[in-house]
Subunit: 259 residues, 2 copies
């Protein structure tokens, strides 16, 4: 059974300030908890039903977190999901390590993505298209928010997010590549860019930048963009959701470089 | 001011049975209401703030619906949106007319899409890619639900949805095309289909079928599919959201037929 203090602790992790204070976040629901148990993340505590434990015993034993058996009702009361008949894990957040350059690979860059559902969707899409690294502006919504974790469908375990000053990041990255006499390819999604169906993407990797849901990529980041891209429109909708745009851009990228 | 009976009436339209009984549905928020006022839909009543009325006077005068001036607080209490400082329109539903064949065009087919947010997103994506007609299984969520209308961002005014028996529809369509000695191209999204990056789409239009969020396309509809398609995966995510899949498939289709 969940004690009152456990309930309070779990609920507190729905707020960013308590996640930062405790260095922990919540993973909820059977599939996501099973994924996190099998990942490199450290599970500090596991609250689960008997059934979940039986079905996932090998994964639980692998990590050996303290386990508390609870009912589906208790899970629903403690967590952010409307229905959860399986498990909630309290998991250690990872340090916000400055991303190492990864020559030959593609990195996704998110400038001020505010909606948790969108960020979760983007992580899932990135994972589908084999992108392992995402750079987020400090204003981008927190990757450890329950809605992001839930919408990512387990992809948060495989896609690493770094938060920081994107302008500074790009300034340094450009300086460094200049000194090595190579050029960086930084593609950004705009309304007035080149048709992505006709874009020839760099063959040595680079960056794909997506901007805020309403305002797009901010001026400070935009000035580092070397290739402005647009998804061509064939009908009348005013815009595409940013998660959809991420998927279409990455699909076009991978289509041009299938290996 | 909203009377108690008006409030009850508006709230009742959040439920399908009352929408069917009254032949009406709700459109909420400034942008969506402005779009519906400028569309072919008949607005039966408009509840709006003074500001919304002033900003949209030409559109309102065009339709001349009965207007009731209300406050943002009243709108939030009556509607399904958390914030709405502009307007709610009560709009006549359209008859569920059997779709006429449209040679040379593409039709989207939805077999048992359950999530209202997904259906709204799919309508927006269809609108972006110039698809005007969507056929929905009777089990697909109601297009007139507030969450669908809201997620479609106005695209419900341009994309026509028909609900009915898809197996029967395809049986008849195939019979008819056989008698005319033409063949139908029915593309469906599966996990084990041809790589959509290498697909040559029909040059005379056809159908793109998407299935249920968990179970995909049902067996009855699947047997009519002439081309099984798959979006290739380059990483580890288990699946893509159905709205994302719709966008990627339509992008590949339009990319191969840009005119």
């Amino acid at each position: 059974m969940l004690s009152k203090s456990q309930l309070t602790f779990i609920r507190s992790l729905q707020q960013k300030k308590f996640r930062q204070q405790h260095g922990a976040f919540l993973v909820e629901g059977a599939k996501s908890v099973a994924e996190v148990l099998g990942s490199g993340f450290v599970v500090e505590r596991l609250f689960c039903t008997d059934d979940f434990y039986k079905e996932n015993a090998p994964a639980v034993v692998h990590q050996r977190p303290p386990v508390e058996f609870v009912t589906a009702d208790e899970l629903a009361r403690a967590g952010s999901l409307e229905t959860n008949d399986a498990a909630i894990a309290v998991v250690q957040t990872r340090p916000n390590e400055h991303p190492a350059p990864r020559p030959g690979t593609w990195t996704l860059v998110l400038d001020d993505i505010r909606d948790p559902g969108n960020l979760g969707t983007i992580l899932r899409v990135a994972d589908w298209y084999g992108i392992r690294q995402v750079l987020c502006s400090a204003t981008t919504t927190d990757v450890y928010a329950p809605k992001v974790i839930s919408a990512s469908k387990g992809s948060f375990t495989r896609v690493h997010c770094w938060y920081g000053d994107l302008e500074e990041y790009f300034s340094q990255a450009v300086e460094q590549s200049d000194s090595q006499e190579v050029s960086l390819s930084i593609y950004g999604a705009f309304l007035d860019g080149e048709n992505v169906h006709r874009t020839e993407f760099s063959t040595v990797g680079g960056y794909i930048v997506l901007g805020n849901e309403s305002n797009g990529i901010g001026a400070g980041v935009a000035r580092h963009v070397t290739h402005r891209l647009t998804i061509p429109r064939f009908g009348d909708a005013e815009s595409l959701n940013v998660g959809i745009a991420a998927a279409v851009l990455l699909d076009n990228l991978r289509r041009s470089q299938p290996t």
